[in-house]
């Protein structure tokens, strides 16, 4: 059952807290970029919680190796009458994906341990394509032409 797409509140809290670091979305290098993870959800697998904060909260439910969202941009835009900040980037193509994918999670990588990689965005509700069972095939995550998310 879909939870609905959501920005992790703990990430937004970090944005406005002086002492918390490694939260920007506009970095292009591999060590400090935004990454996309394919996640198996429901039951004993991952279940979204607004209390989740770091990559390790996803548990062992990430399928394959997460991919960096390349060419990241953060720009002010108006979509469907609402003006806000839009995060966007290139589509992600995952190779030879196993398992059943119920959600996509974006997180902010950094050179430290994965216990410090901040969860940014949870997405399990799309027009079509989720859940999906690629059975070893490739999986292309094609973002909305308006951008990945707005806040």
């Amino acid at each position: 059952m879909a939870t609905g797409n959501a920005l992790y509140p703990k990430w937004k809290q970090a944005l406005v807290t002086e002492a918390l670091t490694l939260k920007s979305l506009d970095q292009g290098d591999a060590a400090n970029g935004v990454y996309c993870a394919l996640v198996t959800i429901g039951g004993a697998n991952y279940v979204y919680s607004q209390a989740h904060q770091f990559y390790t909260d996803l548990g062992a439910n990430v399928q394959g190796v997460p991919l960096q969202v390349t060419a990241p941009t953060v720009s002010v835009a108006t979509v469907a009458g609402s003006t806000g900040l839009v995060f966007d980037g290139n589509d992600c193509t995952f190779i030879s994906v196993a398992g059943t994918i119920g959600a996509v999670v974006l997180y902010r990588h950094n050179p430290g341990a994965n216990t410090t990689w901040r969860l940014v965005y949870y997405l399990d509700t799309v027009t079509s394509g989720l859940p999906v069972t690629p059975a070893g095939g490739n999986l292309v995550v094609s973002w909305n032409p308006n951008g990945i998310f707005m806040f």
Partner: protein, 182 residues
């Protein structure tokens, strides 16, 4: 020129700064007077008060609250705190004390920015002739020029607006749930 309430809104340019690595002076949880959130009272433009402030999603810094130099010749402020230009907040700008950014509950997780109520002392009309307080703006002050103070939140919709200053105090009682949710 404004034509009515814009609605309460978080400035998009501030949110943009939050997620850009090189941008500074954007946190809300600071408590010293040189690095804190402040509240300013505004007059909003009307057909008869064309010099008042009008919200724009493109506005970013404190100086955007000031009059466009090309309008009129007086360069008066819409902000009730003194003449243009200025490098420090006037006596009427109030720091938001005891600032917090907490995760909320249920379907409104936030985070929620909150702080103490603000009492503005002895508010009068300005030399520019702005006679009503129509809105308030929260901004993030820093130790530099006011051209670097980030606008955060515009509020023109709530009980009590507009207020006509008469030299008495004006108290802003924030919503019990908090000032705004990000």
């Amino acid at each position: 020129m404004g034509t009515g309430p814009t609605g309460n809104v978080v400035y998009p340019k501030w949110k943009q700064a939050l997620v850009q690595e090189a941008q500074a002076n954007k946190s809300l949880d600071q408590t010293d007077v040189n690095n804190a959130v402040y509240c300013a009272l505004l007059n909003v433009g009307t057909p008869t008060q064309a010099l008042g402030y009008t919200y724009s999603a493109a506005h970013q810094f404190y100086t955007d609250l000031l009059m466009a130099p090309t309008v009129g010749s007086g360069h008066e402020l819409a902000v009730f705190n003194g003449p243009f230009p200025q490098s420090n907040p006037g006596p009427l700008d109030k720091q938001i004390t005891t600032p917090t950014v907490n995760i909320g509950a249920g379907t409104f997780p936030g985070p929620v920015f909150d702080g103490d109520d603000s009492t503005f002392l002895q508010v009068t009309t300005t030399a520019g002739g702005f006679v009503t307080v129509d809105a308030l703006v929260l901004y993030r002050r820093n130790a530099g020029l006011n051209s670097t103070w980030r606008l955060i939140y515009y509020c023109d919709t709530g009980a009590g607006f507009p207020v006509q200053p008469n030299g008495g105090n004006i108290t802003i009682n924030w919503n019990a749930a908090g000032i705004f949710m990000l």
